[in-house]
């Protein structure tokens, strides 16, 4: 057990130190890879063994929700690390020197911070460590050292931190609510859930609202999403994948923690409604900008706003939809890996982010184009990919809740987004362009990025169809923790 914690926290810490100290990219890569592997192994072990390595009631602990999000984090991180050397070797311009130097330390510290977020059970401490994740990734958003990326960094840093201030107020409010418990009041999740009956519903309500507003900027829920869009679309491929795939999910976890508390009190219905509103609004905003978007990286950023919105909406609906939401978060992270990797490569080769100036991707970059197209169908929820099943579950939840208005809006927005995104992506793939690579450039070869993306897209199928128990066991107990029934 102690070993597990060591793998989860010690290894990232160690590799952070190492990479910060050593300057050789190869060594750093292997250190990072080792950390990532260890982390993944530990995560899988936790999922399989289904036990909490930390003492009960401690500030740290891993419940089923935690272990599940740990998987999202660890898996995405692993994929990103695999892709990193291939990415870095292309970034050989002198002005990238400093960024390359910082790359691995930043990654490792991000892993450390995110793991802390996942395993922390104390809301106060949670606030402290969630701020750390922001700091760890900021230098990487600024990788290209360009005006745009700097502006993105500034906005992201400022708005996210501003949001987190409100999150802290939310934590305080939760503390006040906990006063009702008596002298052994604490901010530890398990205690709060246990004594949910004595919590002051008024303050729980306030804390939930503040938490939602505060963390939205980090999850990328409208209307707090703008900074997120800028950051994701200006960060290099792997970092963007990390943000869209893992950072946002981790932030979502924080929201879910508050939601878990709220779900066990009398403000359950209210919090569900609020989540539905926030989610639906995010999908709407995403639809607004996906309908006619000019920049494909921003398009992808909006798409992740959309999917996080779906997850939020679905967790608000509850029941089967909650199960769907959890799966959706996982599968979305898979898809985002492929999409952002490919977007990065396309951007590098074509030197443009304008959708209108991308032509004949299929001929120009056969592999990247193909994977990009595949990932597009994936993200649109085409069977047999995973998102199809998770969306089906979400729809089931809505039907079960007899929530026709939500269902109708959801389907309408899905359709709009489908049309908008389809127009853009299919145009990029199919519109006639230079047949074959431009003179001087060799035909694109199969790259590890393609392998990773393929794997990420493919692995969703067996998970969705076979429903392995090591994943669905935790999922069921998550639903139990939220007092949802299938």
């Amino acid at each position: 057990m102690i070993l597990t914690t060591l793998f989860l926290l010690g290894l990232p810490l160690l590799s952070t130190g190492l990479t910060a100290w050593s300057i050789s990219l190869e060594k750093n890569y292997f250190a990072t890879l080792a950390a990532a592997t260890g982390h993944l192994v530990a995560t899988l072990y936790l999922l399989l063994s289904r036990q909490n390595p930390f003492p009960a009631g401690a500030w740290f602990g891993i419940d089923s929700l935690g272990s599940y999000f740990l998987l999202i984090l660890s898996h995405t991180y692993f994929a990103v690390v695999l892709y990193s050397p291939g990415f870095l070797q292309r970034m050989d311009k002198p002005e990238y020197q400093a960024s390359r130097r910082l790359y691995y330390p930043a990654l490792n510290s991000y892993l450390l911070a995110s793991t802390l977020v996942v395993v922390t059970q104390n809301f106060g401490l949670l606030w402290v460590v969630i701020e750390l994740t922001t700091f760890s990734l900021v230098p990487m958003i600024y990788f290209y050292r360009s005006k745009e990326s700097l502006e993105a960094v500034w906005k992201y840093l400022f708005l996210v931190s501003l949001g987190l201030v409100f999150l802290l107020i939310g934590v305080l409010a939760l503390g006040v609510a906990a006063k009702g418990v008596g002298e052994h009041a604490s901010l530890i999740l398990t205690d709060l859930v246990r004594d949910a009956a004595q919590l002051d519903p008024l303050w729980v309500k306030i804390s939930f609202v503040l938490a939602l507003v505060g963390i939205s900027a980090k999850i990328g829920l409208a209307p707090m999403h703008p900074a997120d869009i800028d950051a994701t679309s200006n960060a290099p491929g792997p970092v963007a994948a990390l943000m869209a795939g893992s950072l946002r999910s981790t932030a979502l976890l924080v929201l879910l923690r508050f939601y878990e508390v709220a779900c066990n009190t009398s403000v359950r219905a209210f919090s569900q409604g609020l989540l539905m509103i926030a989610g639906a609004f995010s999908i709407l905003v995403a639809a607004v900008y996906i309908w006619r978007s000019r920049d494909y990286k921003r398009l992808l950023a909006y798409s992740s706003v959309e999917h996080l919105g779906i997850v939020t909406l679905a967790s608000g609906v509850g029941g089967v939809a909650m199960l769907g939401a959890m799966l959706h978060a996982l599968f979305n992270s898979f898809g985002k890996i492929a999409l952002f990797f490919m977007a990065g490569r396309i951007n590098r080769d074509l030197q443009t982010r304008e959708i209108d100036s991308v032509h004949g991707l299929m001929q120009r970059l056969p592999w990247s184009g193909f994977v990009f197209g595949l990932a597009f169908f994936y993200i649109m929820g085409t069977p047999p990919f995973g998102l199809f099943f998770s969306e089906l579950l979400i729809l089931r939840g809505m039907v079960h809740a007899r929530n026709w208005t939500v269902l109708g809006c959801f389907l309408l927005l899905m359709m709009i987004i489908f049309i908008g995104m389809g127009r853009a992506v299919l145009r990029m793939l199919q519109s006639p362009g230079s047949v074959g690579p431009p003179a001087g450039k060799p035909r694109e070869r199969f790259h590890i990025a393609h392998a990773v993306s393929f794997y990420a897209l493919a692995v969703s199928v067996p998970i969705a169809i076979l429903r392995p128990d090591f994943l669905f066991g935790p999922l069921r107990s998550i639903l139990a923790e939220f007092r949802f029934t299938l």
Binding site: W291, R292, V399, G422, P432, L466
Partner: protein, 662 residues
């Protein structure tokens, strides 16, 4: 038996694997398509034998950890399976010759062949699986692969656009189907069709919701009006063998779905039947009328698919009504008509589309106004197309007549069975069907007369291309089928008999007594007609041999140097009828009236457009765009605005929290 079917599927899989190893497109074309054909022959052997023996086949495919997926080929599944396989066979043989052209043009067909095979494969799966999730997966595979098949020549923007029309439509239908099956699952707690069918005692609300969502889902696919807009856009975009299969079988998947719905809800609510009747009538009349305005062969044929789907819908509607009044005989009659028309339409529509394909290979255009006199160059195509045209107009003695005959009969029988306004309504339906027939005659005389008869209209008489060899057996075979089913109705009816018995619950014996044997009696009638005609023909030839025969110019009514451009054009042929359709049929006319004494040169342009496509769907698209633009200020770029959002959101949420009681 089933072994052959499975063998066929395996062969398809193999065909999909070939492109991975084979590099040369030409060889690929000659390897994949024949392999598919072989696979389909195996499949046909299975479906045909079990149809004629009318022995349904059923099994559960137990997959590890997934559970059992029920597979079954009841009569209906078998009939559709047979149709799909038959036409896919024709399509894949035809494709051999047709794709040569694309290979010559240097368009890569590698991915196309994969998706084409996948299309054929998934279509067969759609009818076999009896499990909602599996069905949806097969359905979506079919949709996506069909999309890629359409977008073969994707360098052309209109191809991309047409394919995208299809893509959007099929996704919309999929969304409706999700809701439909989820509702069913919600109600029955199972995903299996059998359990859906077993479920009884639907409450009115759920039933309505189910019927509406399900019908929308399948109707979009089938192309009922007003959801037809994708057909006339997708068909011209697709290569001929694909457009053939789209019209022949892909839209029939929607019909299959509607038939399945019938089995799910044994309802006695007539209103659904009447609603379907109205929709079908609108589709039939509207489809053929729009077809009349078209000057692009594939668009025209696409609208005729809408019309024929409408005719099938009429049969289905009467069948529903028959079930409501509890008359198995009527159900059997109407269903036989609908299902037979499904088969027939598949055959002659594929025939027509393949004919258009040959025309395209030959003249490199499908614009009617630029063509003419093709029979002299394309003999087989000319004859085949004529037979197809006669059949689609429902004229005896070809297969179209048979199915429309059954549907007419079902109208009259239903009229005599039901009271109140029903007879009048059905009479009106019959009359409209006759009207549709008249319009179809006008439309196809226009099409065939302008394209294949007369003289070539285009300025460049220089001919390119030829009739591909592989297309000849296909055209001949399909034409023969049209004639065979028409002349010997017994066989075709035996194919639909199992499905009809399932739907109507009418025992085989009564079915053959009431349905098959009367129609089988048509054979001698047509035989007599044929004999008389041949006799007359012989006499005529003999007389002409005696009296002499001479060739000369067409009598130009005294005008000299008549050129081929002076022939009657398609638009002028159809113009009056199109005018009568105003304003339901959009018609744009551009010309300046002549006022002054010495007028300068004048031009007259007129072309029809689809009011529903332009006025409804395109406008909807624009409306959505305009509405969404209203919100585009959100991402203003100023951090100060974003801070406002945070506070605003906070305030709004707090107001929600405290103002509204939850």
């Amino acid at each position: 038996m089933i072994g052959f079917f499975i063998l066929g599927l395996v062969l398809h899989a193999a065909a999909m694997a070939i492109p991975a190893v084979l590099r040369d497109d030409r060889l690929l074309n000659r390897a994949v398509n024949p392999l598919n054909a072989l696979a389909l022959v195996c499949g046909l052997f299975f479906s045909l034998t079990s149809l004629l023996a009318s022995q349904p086949w059923e099994s559960r495919l137990a997959l590890p950890m997934v559970g059992a997926i029920p597979l079954s080929c009841d009569g209906i599944a078998l009939l559709f399976l047979f149709t799909f396989q038959l036409l896919s066979l024709a399509g894949s043989i035809y494709a051999i010759g047709y794709l040569e052209e694309y290979v010559r043009r240097g368009i890569s067909i590698r991915w196309h062949l994969v998706s084409f095979t996948l299309l054929i494969l998934s279509m067969q799966l759609v009818v076999v699986v009896q499990h909602a999730l599996a069905f949806l997966i097969a359905w979506e595979l079919m949709a996506v692969s069909a999309y890629f098949c359409i977008a073969l020549d994707k360098a052309r923007p209109e191809v991309r656009q047409g394919a995208f029309w299809y893509f959007v439509a099929t996704h919309a239908s999929a969304l409706f189907l999700y809701v439909f099956f989820i509702l069913l699952h919600e109600r029955t707690g199972s995903w299996e069709f059998a359990d859906f069918a077993r479920q009884t005692g639907w409450d009115a609300g759920t039933l309505t919701l189910l019927v509406v969502t399900g019908f929308l889902g399948f109707a979009i696919k089938a192309g009922f009006m007003p959801f037809h807009a994708w057909l006339p856009n997708a068909h011209p975009a697709a290569p001929a063998h694909v457009s053939g299969l789209l019209s022949a079988i892909n839209i029939k998947a929607g019909i299959y779905g509607i038939v399945r719905m019938f089995m799910f809800f044994p309802s006695d609510r007539q209103v659904f039947g009447w609603a379907l009747l109205v929709v079908a009538l609108v589709s039939a009349v509207g489809g053929v009328w729009y077809a009349l305005t078209q000057h692009e062969m594939k668009r025209l044929l696409a609208y005729h698919s809408v019309e024929n789907i409408g005719i099938i819908g009429l049969g289905l509607a009467v069948a529903w009504l028959g079930r409501c009044v509890g008359s198995p005989g009527l159900v059997a009659l109407a269903f036989a008509g609908a299902l037979l028309h499904t088969l027939n339409h598949a055959i002659f529509k594929a025939l027509l589309f393949f004919g258009v394909g040959n025309v395209y290979l030959y003249a490199h255009t499908t614009d009617i106004e630029k063509l003419g006199g093709l029979t002299k160059a394309l003999r087989v195509t000319g004859v085949g197309f004529l037979i197809g045209a006669v059949s689609i107009c429902g004229l005896p003695p070809f297969n179209g007549f048979l199915s429309e005959f059954l549907i007419y009969k079902s109208f009259f029988q239903g009229g005599s069975l039901m009271g109140g306004f029903a007879p009048l309504a059905l009479l009106v339906a019959a009359v409209s069907l006759a009207f549709v027939g008249g319009l179809a005659v006008a439309c196809f005389t226009k099409l065939y007369g302008i394209v294949f008869l007369g003289e070539n209209r285009s300025k460049s008489p220089a001919r390119l291309g030829h009739e591909p060899i592989s297309s000849l057996p296909v055209l001949a075979g399909l034409a023969t089928l049209c004639g065979w089913i028409g002349f010997v109705p017994g066989t075709a009816l035996r194919l639909v008999a199992p499905a009809v018995t399932e739907m109507s619950g009418l025992p085989e014996t009564r079915l053959s007594a009431e349905l098959i044997s009367p129609l089988a009696g048509l054979t001698p009638v047509f035989g007599l007609l044929l004999a008389m005609t041949l006799l007359t023909l012989v006499v005529k030839l003999w007389v002409q041999k005696k009296a002499g025969l001479r060739l000369c110019e067409t009598w130009g009514c005294g005008y000299r140097n008549v050129t081929s451009r002076m022939q009657y054009s398609a638009s002028s042929f159809a113009e009056e009828l199109v005018r009568l359709g105003q304003p339901m049929i959009g018609l744009r006319v551009q010309w300046k009236p002549i006022v002054q004494v010495l007028p300068e040169p004048r031009a007259f342009k007129s072309h029809g457009f689809d009011q529903i496509e332009q006025g409804l769907w395109v406008r909807l698209d624009h409306a959505i765009g305009r509405t969404l633009v209203l919100l585009r200020w959100i991402q203003s770029g100023s951090i100060r605005h974003y801070v406002i959002y945070i506070f605003a959101a906070l305030i709004v949420y707090l107001v929600i929290a405290f103002a509204f009681v939850w």
